[in-house]
Symmetry: D2
Subunit: 83 residues, 4 copies
């Protein structure tokens, strides 16, 4: 079984209050040197069988339809490297 | 400026209803062959200057304190490859 | 058509890093007097027809199965008052 | 101590893939009669002292700045009724 990862982030021009809260909180906890934080979603999909090009295209289509809102979010799809 | 990514996922033994909803919805939209979905959080941190080992250790500490709940979640930290 | 709301919050004993980040960030933005913040999920369900007791029981069951993880989260269900 | 709740939902005209996934998954699990689902965020704020009008105004300002993105989200603020 293979794993495919879909990362979904708000588009850069869309303000991200969640990330902003984290960025503001970091210095209060003693963490400096972080100039910005963005928070998004990560989906890990367990794929039966091989991850063919056709399968990846299907997952990209699912990412566009069900995992993200393309008006406000960008997504990337990649096969997870076994670590 | 460098970017460091912190991925936060529920531990494998913790039920993930959000991922389950996505997994259940996929076949209805014509996407087959996905046997499981997990939904987590992805944080992108913009780091000033170089990403030293010390800086990475600090970010791991922040991930443990502010970005995740170690009782129910696992996290990974990596420097983002420029794409 | 009626609307039923399902609120899902982490159980009080489960640390909530998202809420903590917000709580830490508030004073930096000049907001004082908030001693704690918890962040949860709110689902708004559009229900066809009348919201009978049977329908509410069904929604509670769905909340337990698909909208929350009862091991780490609590939920409440209520019919939304028209405002 | 009082509790103030801030509910944040995507504006009605913004597509909500998370809610859509839940709506698609419900029938597969045997739950019918739900014509739509929207997923948002719920923040519970513990407020020191009394919840004055001034305090509520401050929280509305925080909701606009740190808890929501007014371009894509609406929020409501209310004092939580003790249940």
């Amino acid at each position: 079984m293979a794993r495919v990862v879909v990362d979904v982030m708000l588009k850069p021009e869309i303000l991200d209050p969640q990330g902003k809260a984290v960025a503001q909180a970091l210095p209060r906890l003693g963490f400096d040197g972080i100039s910005g934080v963005r928070q998004g979603k990560r989906f890990e999909l367990d794929v039966e069988g091989e991850v063919s090009e056709e399968r990846l295209a299907q997952i990209r289509s699912a990412a566009e339809t069900l995992l993200s809102n393309p008006v406000i979010e960008d997504f990337t799809v990649h096969v997870d490297d076994p670590r």
